[in-house]
Symmetry: C2
Subunit: 138 residues, 2 copies
DNA sequence: CAGCATCCATGACGATACTG
DNA sequence: CAGTATCGTCATGGATGCTG
């Protein structure tokens, strides 16, 4: 019944104190899904995982990202210990981002999920079309 | 350089037509992350993966979910071909949700990610604390 | 070059009320 | 029991302008 997975059905007698959101916020799986589920984290992590890369190089490589979101997401990834920010004191300054061992670990885990998406999401799309057709004809 | 991963740096000459969001919307990895990144999908999928389960049984087991979100998420998972909805014509009707082969496949892939979260998110938390301390003292 | 600050629109989600 | 419908809120993220 392994407990602790998301906010899975724990049995707690004093449930009055625990509000749903508080419970969810503490859950490690919830925290991870919030991070990898956001719009840019996985893509950025993937690129940085290939090789260390500069800020504007990332920006050029990622189609459609704003510098606000690039900056913000990099800050979060850095804070989480998944990427490392290095400043070379040239003129002007050159900042590059690299992956940490922890980040590389996560990235390899994510690769399984990405592979699944790339090979099986067409099956999902097919299911969606079938579902929608069924709903049309009633 | 495997292309097609999220909206990774493709080289397209006619980039004027392609808007960022359109590109992103078509990406299978983006679609999957949108689904598993939402608030309830993974938890619901995990419970259904253990055994077929009734609507209100799910609701009771998931702390803090509204019936709107339970219903809505189940509909999405069903549409994606990840869970199957079965109606027994008793009085009143009994509806149960089970996992499909496709859903089971995804779930096993997700388990690796969940395991990583449960074992390594404390390292992430530690990194966050370190980062915040650094920022305080400047 | 590598950002931060601000404003604003959209969409996700929760609360509530109603139904076969 | 198993939902649908509607409304309000809040957070995510895009656009824009400014800085060392």
């Amino acid at each position: 019944m392994q407990d602790g997975t998301l906010h899975s059905p724990g049995n707690f007698e004093e449930t009055i104190i625990l509000r749903g959101d508080v419970y969810a916020a503490q859950c490690p799986t919830r925290q991870l899904l919030d991070r990898v589920g956001d719009k840019w984290s996985v893509l950025i992590l993937t690129l940085i995982g290939e090789k260390s890369i500069r800020f504007n190089e990332l920006k050029r490589n990622i189609n459609g990202i704003s510098q606000k979101m690039l900056s913000q997401t990099l800050r979060s990834l850095e804070r989480d210990g998944l990427v490392i920010r290095t400043v070379e004191q040239t003129m002007p300054v050159a900042v590059s981002y690299g992956i940490t061992p922890l980040g590389a670990e996560l990235l390899s885990t994510l690769q399984a999920l990405i592979n699944w998406a790339e090979t099986r999401m067409n099956a999902v799309s097919a299911a969606q079309i079938l579902y929608d057709q069924r709903k049309e004809t009633d």
